[in-house]
Symmetry: C2
Subunit: 607 residues, 2 copies
């Protein structure tokens, strides 16, 4: 597939280099010796592998989903070929430190590259990004021998990784998990329990699979501690790892079933049983695992991966939105149909769809959502680099706090509006868009998972309003405010952007006021009852800020020698966002100031 139907390289270059000035990262010790040329050429590699290895089986991945015959699951061979090519090009470990065989690239560059892979084939990309996240967690929290055992094999693509959190009875409520980890005399643990929704949970695509499993260690009476404090984290390989690193006999982890999803069908999603005894000698049941870090800190460690996964979810949503937009744009420019309002002669030739104002409205909306979502994800990834590379602990802590604040938005705003973009991509295609002969309906189905997994929209909303905006006396809000202010000030000096700047400032002030009011409520239920529209309003304000910030750069470049239609298109998308999208913020805030109580006060039996 033409890589220009996956992502716009012009947009990616603008976002990375003109806007986020990623090349300046190379001035920091962590990225010493790197330069823009390195970044550009690794992006070329991602784009090539995405179009040549991933996009090529995206439809097949969807129509021939993994099949479970009761014993094992079969995945089409193209998946393994693609992930091996990805690993062999060094992309699995692109952002790993050099000591673990990585390229040591900034996260923001690696994520920009991953956007190509996700746009090309979100299901196959899933195997890779779960493995990367798993390795990152181990490098951050694992014992050195754990890292040595698993991470290089993951970098090579020999081992894949998973995250095992949910259980059938517990869903999103991790306090209620029942998987238990029984200590053995050799320092290892035997795990028993059932895990649900495990992406990449079982297959033969890789030589081995490293499960990161949340479980509880029973107390002296054999009881599992209640709540999340009792949760620990374990590495549980599908096959036990021999001395020397090769994969040996099967561990006691059994595939109990696969889920048949609406989309992302090529990424096998499993119910796994730990400790059934199937692959073990009589009396030796229990999946052998090693604890990661200290007991009782499992959830904190897992949130390392979860937060990364949440930004990855956002990036998936953004990537699908981008490719959907590019497909719709291409279709609208080539498909002819009907006539404009001013040309009513039925004997005149029909015009391209894009000549209809309503089609351009749908394209502008997609651009505003898709490219806005990509900008937000890259902004967050850039913050993640700051967390690890800024000079001074205070600066790094601040970057971390701001990243934590933006994480639920990076996950949820992108998922919601990326999906809306894919919906519009179908609409631009008309009836064709509704058929599997075209690509866009799959993008929609693939993207529909994103407001659900790694913390639903509702959970992200509670995280934002109930925690992220409150901690450290609202310091994260102050940090965000300190970033919005210079954008507003700069835009005030650009006449075409002045009204947008005023609108953004007013929306931000209002949002912050509402935030304080909500925090001050003494009714815990009322406080968070309408967190959903709060997240929606917050997300739109953040997206508006980033659009305005981009518009300042685009205005400057447009006046220079390389200015052109690309920059005019940026400004049009910014205008669209402010004029068409920002009025929605008032509608969301209308149920927060004061808290509208209908959902709160309607008892179940009235419904």
């Amino acid at each position: 597939m033409n890589p220009e139907l996956l992502l716009s390289r012009s947009d990616l270059d603008f976002l990375l280099f003109d806007w986020l000035q990623v090349d300046t990262l190379a001035q920091r010790p962590r990225f010493a010796g790197q330069d823009r040329f390195d970044y550009a050429s690794v992006l070329d590699t991602y784009a090539r592998i995405a179009s040549e290895r991933f996009a090529t089986h995206n439809k097949k991945n969807d129509s021939q989903e993994p099949h479970f015959d009761g014993e094992s699951v079969s995945v089409i061979p193209e998946v393994g070929v693609a992930v091996r090519a990805f690993s062999e090009a060094g992309l699995m470990s692109a952002a790993f430190p050099e000591e673990w065989g990585g390229m040591g690239l900034p996260t923001v560059v690696e994520r920009a590259g991953m956007a190509w892979i996700m746009a090309a084939n979100v299901a196959t990309a899933g195997y890779a990004f779960l493995t990367i996240g798993n390795a990152n967690l181990l490098m951050a929290h694992g014992q050195p021998e754990q890292v040595a055992k698993y991470v290089p094999a993951m970098a090579q693509g020999r081992f894949f990784g998973t995250m095992c959190l949910s259980e059938p009875q517990a869903g999103s409520s991790l306090a209620d998990i029942r998987t238990k980890a029984v200590p053995q005399s050799d320092g290892r643990y035997r795990l028993f329990g059932n895990k649900m929704w495990i992406s990449g949970g079982d297959h033969e695509v890789s030589e081995n699979i490293v499960h990161l499993v949340l479980a509880k260690i029973p107390d002296a009476n054999g009881q599992l501690p209640p709540g999340v404090q009792g949760i620990s984290l374990f590495t549980v390989p599908r096959r036990l790892v021999n001395e020397g690193g090769s994969s040996g006999e099967r561990n006691d982890v059994v595939l109990a079933g696969v889920n048949h999803k609406m989309g992302q069908r090529g990424l096998v999603n499993c119910l796994l049983n730990f400790g059934e005894g199937k692959f073990r000698p009589e009396g030796e049941a229990g999946a052998l695992g090693e604890i990661v870090g200290e007991p009782g800190k499992g959830l904190a460690y897992m949130f390392h991966m979860m937060n990364e996964a949440r930004i990855s979810v956002g990036l998936t949503a953004a990537s699908l939105a981008c490719t959907g937009y590019l497909h719709a744009l291409d279709y609208a420019k080539t498909r002819t149909q009907g006539r404009t309002r001013s040309q009513r002669d039925p004997a005149s030739p029909p015009v391209a769809l894009i000549e209809h104002a309503d089609v351009r409205r749908m394209l502008l909306a997609q651009k505003a959502y898709a490219s806005g979502a990509l900008a937000l994800c890259l902004y967050s990834a850039r913050l993640n680099d700051d967390v690890h590379s800024l000079e001074g602990e205070a600066a790094r802590d601040d970057a971390h706090l701001l990243l934590e604040l933006l994480t639920p938005i990076t996950k949820s705003w992108t998922a919601q509006w990326g999906l809306a973009a894919n919906d519009l991509a179908i609409q631009v295609h008309g009836g064709y868009g509704y058929t599997r002969e075209y690509n866009v309906e799959q993008f929609y189905r693939d993207n529909r998972l994103n407001p659900i997994h790694e913390g639903t929209f509702g959970i992200q909303a509670i995280d934002l309003l109930g925690r992220k905006t409150r901690v450290h006396q609202g310091r994260a809000m102050q940090l965000l405010s300190a970033r919005i202010a210079p954008t507003v000030n700069a835009a005030m000096h650009v006449s075409a952007l002045q009204r947008h700047a005023e609108a953004l400032e007013a929306a931000w002030v209002k949002l912050w006021t509402v935030t304080r009011q909500l925090h001050a409520l003494d009714d815990a239920e009322a406080q968070l009852a309408n967190a959903g529209p709060y997240l929606e309003a917050f997300g739109h304000v953040v997206a508006a800020w980033l659009w305005l910030d981009q518009a300042i750069v685009a205005t400057r470049l447009l006046a220079g020698p390389d200015g052109g239609d690309f920059h005019r298109g940026k400004l049009a998308a910014c205008d669209y966002f402010f004029r068409w999208e920002m009025p929605k913020v008032a509608a969301w805030l209308a149920v927060l100031d004061p808290v509208e109580r209908t959902p709160l006060d309607t008892p179940a039996h009235w419904l």
Copy 2:
């Protein structure tokens, strides 16, 4: 399947009898001799056949879609069994006049019944409702011998019907169709051309298929007349009909391919070639057809069926929204997960999902959209009965004008928000909702067609703003205003509804003002450029009016002996709609007053 997961009978009874007072129709000569008991028992029949014959293969219809082997298409046998049971119960002809073997029921009762069928299996229902629409068109515009030839066979379910409008090169632009109809010496025509998107276009489920085909009759020079004025309408049976009514040899209509849809997979969708000569002796190519009514009036006749089809599309969307809501409600009441904000003890048992305010918010939104959409469809169906049964031509003309005004809203508002309801039904189910092991993701996929077919959202918007609100000096708007006013007045006297009444009145006044401003613009492109948000705003105002009108009835009944939680739930949904949904109207109107020009002024090459 439990019929209470398809539709709420309480809601249907409330809408039909308490609100629309459908039983009073029996006082009119057209419906003389009928009563509420008749209506209730025929609804029982629909509900029974829906749950016993249609719902039972809804999933199979989706996973085993019609298969085209290059010669013919195979459809699972359950489809034929269901439609035959439907016909044998008299439901195909429930609203046909008795002279054609029908029950002569009001349309509103028949449509309420069809909602059960659509909620149970939208794909199989499609064969039935296309056949009903086809027969209705023939009864309205066909020659008596045409009606006699086809309609009784359709009533029996022996013949199915289709509508053949689109062509591959023309899409929604019917002026550009190229199918030609060449007159024969015997008064019949031979048709040549390709038709696209033909639902139910080929199969062996019924003995025969009656295609209603738009085509152009060449002029003396063999040229096809340009524009829509040259379009005529023809009946073209798949098999020629013998004397006596049996189906004979194949007509010259060939299945050229099937589309593989995102949803509604069980309803075969075809590309048909007319006049290829495949089934005809050498030199006798051409699909034999009979003209309906007069030449050149084809589009006007087809709009009889199209308008009915548009209301049916709305009803499909509403039905899918209703069943999705009932599924989500049932799941939220039974699935336990997490704890409320005020109960943080992790050792306490988890609560039902519905105990979370955000879940109730999603349920209330679904109820507001789904039941609101059903109300709108039934209101339109009731107006259709008025068109045919009111005393006095002026009253009938007025009902017709108002129905015409409400048709694009009945089609599009329901499609947009019915889909939004299904999206929320998935979200309430969490990860399970994303799997095909549950039902709700199919509802979403099935419903996604509705903003596209029978005139896309954009086309409906132009129809509303450019035509329906303008014709006869805006008389339809005056008629609608005259219906909104008494609702506002009555609600002003109910203290709990007074603020809603004020909000509705203000929104209506504003909408009408904006309408006049837009009509007065002398820039044709600008006038209709933002018709999309105009339709959205208009739809929400109409839905708010109908919710308020229902709330007045619910308030009265709640005070009576039969008042209860059902009526409290109605009032909660009305509150929700006014407080959470109505603030969106300002956001849509923000781009209409004045016309926001970004989509209009952004040239294609900036995108």
